[in-house]
């Protein structure tokens, strides 16, 4: 058979496949009729067969190139991305994340680092003997003044419901952004740790300074931060811990190759980061609506206690290692690919 004849014979089918691919690529939610879908599969297999036999057919190089591209495009339309599955995510968040966090040395290390620095900074800012100028040096006189200004008045005379809503949006935007950045920068280890350390020292110094008897608005400050504190601080520790796990994955890969270790760590830590985002969102809502409200002190203390208990239940009770195999036992497709490579 002549090569030119063969080309002419196949051309209509290739062009039809191309048209189908165009049709699929240019619509957001592709809908093909049953016959069209069957036809797409058949045309794709035919093009695959043509490509496989291209050398035996003596097809010109330009046509082979064309076939490579055509098969590639059709492949990408045939095999489509899996959307996020809410049920799988719920299972991840409720079953795998707490267990993983409970055992994760990175989260524990970050937990100790954060709270150690926090307590140290708070002590130094509170106590005037060891390092008298600590609070002023760390926070800056301006910042201290601004905080004192903010909490001078009792909270009940604070803002209205409308402003609360706006502030809740701001907390969500700002704090969750910091958390996600802490996680992503953790991959580079140093920037993530730096972000965590600065946050720990600044927060600690602020708490310590406001605890001084002569600080203006001290009791208002503690009344404000109490309710949302547990969720927010846990979330930042979680983000930084997950980030550190990512960073260590390529520094200390263990028995895996560095690439495979990174891929595995990514699959494991992303759900943890998802849990952190949920905590950030909860904290933002509490910070927006409960913390600045006129609700009595007891209510806010109750919220703080309740959220702490919830966290304890989530991480300690749900986090108990189960008898069944750990979630990492079955490597993901991406990891299998890496291991095979």
């Amino acid at each position: 058979m002549k090569v030119s004849d063969r080309l002419e014979q196949r051309r209509p089918q290739w062009e039809e496949l191309e048209r189908l691919c165009d049709q699929l690529a240019h619509t957001a939610a592709p809908r093909l009729s049953a016959s069209q879908a069957l036809r797409l599969g058949a045309l794709y297999r035919a093009a695959c067969a043509d490509l496989a036999l291209a050398y035996a057919y003596h097809l010109p190089q330009s046509t082979i190139q064309y076939l490579h591209r055509l098969v590639g495009r059709a492949h990408n339309q045939l095999y489509r991305s899996q959307p996020l599955q809410p049920r799988r995510w719920a299972e991840q968040l409720l079953r795998h994340v707490p267990r993983q966090v409970f055992q994760d040395r990175c989260v524990q290390a970050v937990f100790c680092l954060f709270w150690g620095l926090f307590v140290l900074a708070a002590f130094l800012a509170y106590d005037k003997r060891a390092w008298p100028e600590f609070a002023e040096q760390v926070l800056g006189a301006e910042h201290i003044q601004r905080i004192e200004e903010m909490y001078r008045e009792p909270l009940s005379e604070g803002r209205g419901g409308e402003e609360n809503l706006g502030m809740a949006g701001f907390y969500l935007y700002h704090n969750t952004g910091i958390g996600l950045r802490c996680f992503a920068w953790g991959l580079l280890v140093l920037p993530g740790l730096l972000l965590l350390i600065t946050n720990a020292i600044t927060l600690g110094a602020t708490f310590g300074y406001m605890a001084r008897p002569e600080a203006i608005g001290g009791e208002h400050f503690f009344e404000f931060v109490m309710a949302h504190g547990p969720f927010e601080l846990t979330a930042i520790v979680l983000s930084a811990g997950a980030g550190l796990r990512l960073g260590l994955a390529w520094i200390v890969p263990g028995e895996l190759s560095r690439r495979a270790s990174l891929v595995q760590a990514g699959q494991q830590t992303m759900p943890v980061m998802g849990a952190a985002v949920v905590l950030f969102a909860l904290a933002a809502l509490i910070e927006g609506f409960v913390s600045p409200s006129e609700a009595p002190y007891a209510v806010k203390a109750g919220v703080a206690l309740g959220s702490s208990l919830l966290l304890a239940f989530y991480f300690v009770v749900l986090g108990q290692p189960a008898d069944v195999q750990p979630p990492t036992a079955a490597p993901s497709p991406a990891l299998r690919q890496e291991l095979a490579a």
């Binding site: 002549k2 089918q13 058949a42 067969a49 959307p83 949006g169 969500l172 935007y173 952004g177 991406a334």
Partner: protein, 276 residues
């Protein structure tokens, strides 16, 4: 299949047991897509902010602020995740520049991979060097997010189907008929011939002669053709005989091609059934 060339192409083997090539996208192909995406994000954010402020801002500044901030947050962190998950690995910028994100094995990415690579973009842009460095150091131009998610970015362009070149010169067919039927054009040689004929119109006659000389001079002697045979014409004649004219009967090397061809034809016939 020939061995893989030293190039930015990648061989992907599909479940249909066919290997096809992808062209990988390097940093300079991906930069325009990033810029487009950033501009789209900026425009979207400005438009949404303005619309919300105008629509709700009149009676509730707080609600407008809340909505604007929540939307900015979702846009900034969710744009790439949602688009790549639901549009099969493409954001708007990638769609316009013909790029697509794929798993390393050539399958489409899932929601988890899209999330990982988009959240980690911050790390890639921390110092713009971080992402560039890993792109330069990995064979598949992966930035940090790609490394962790196990993804790569490929070019999904289309090539025009040129088919077999048409040779108007009647002497080509005549000369082709004079060539000894026992001479079989090998696979490599056929490829070179096709490349030559595809491009010969860009060359001057002198240049054609210079290029063709190395191959044709021994052939002229072997075929016993006159010394003044045009080198270009002889290559065209060989091309004609290989791709356009009847294949020689003694083309025994390609005998298996008839069997798979029938099988393939059977597939085509099958394929035609559902439509008919």
């Amino acid at each position: 299949m020939p061995s893989q060339p030293l190039d930015t192409t990648l061989l992907v083997v599909t479940p249909e047991n066919i290997a096809f090539e992808y062209q990988l996208a390097g940093p300079f192909r991906r930069l325009p897509a990033l810029i487009i995406d950033l501009m789209v994000l900026g425009a979207l954010q400005a438009a949404l902010t303005l619309a919300t402020a105008l629509a709700i801002g009149w009676f509730s500044g707080g609600a407008a602020g809340f909505l604007i901030l929540v939307m900015s947050f979702s846009l900034q962190w969710g744009y790439g995740i949602l688009l790549e998950t639901f549009f099969n690995g493409q954001t708007l910028g990638k769609y316009l520049t013909g790029l697509r994100v794929l798993s390393l094995d050539g399958r489409p990415i899932d929601g988890m991979q899209a999330t990982i690579r988009n959240v980690l973009r911050v790390a890639d842009l921390w110092l713009p060097l971080a992402g560039l460095l890993t792109m330069a150091a990995t064979a598949r131009f992966q930035r940090l997010g790609d490394l962790v998610a196990g993804t790569m970015v490929v070019v999904e362009d289309r090539q025009p189907l040129t088919g077999v070149a048409t040779l108007e010169d009647p002497r080509v067919a005549q000369l082709a008929a004079c060539l000894p039927p026992s001479f079989v054009v090998g696979r490599k040689f056929a490829q070179a011939l096709a490349d030559y004929v595809d491009r010969r119109r860009h060359f001057s006659p002198v240049r054609r002669r210079e290029i063709a000389r190395h191959v044709v001079e021994p052939l002229v002697e072997r075929f016993g053709l006159p010394r003044d045979t045009s080198y270009d014409l002889l290559l065209c004649a060989l091309y004609y005989r290989t791709f356009v004219g009847e294949r020689a009967a003694d083309d025994a090397a390609d005998a298996p091609s008839t069997i798979p061809e029938e099988r393939a034809a059977g597939r085509h016939a099958q394929a035609a059934v559902p439509v008919a």
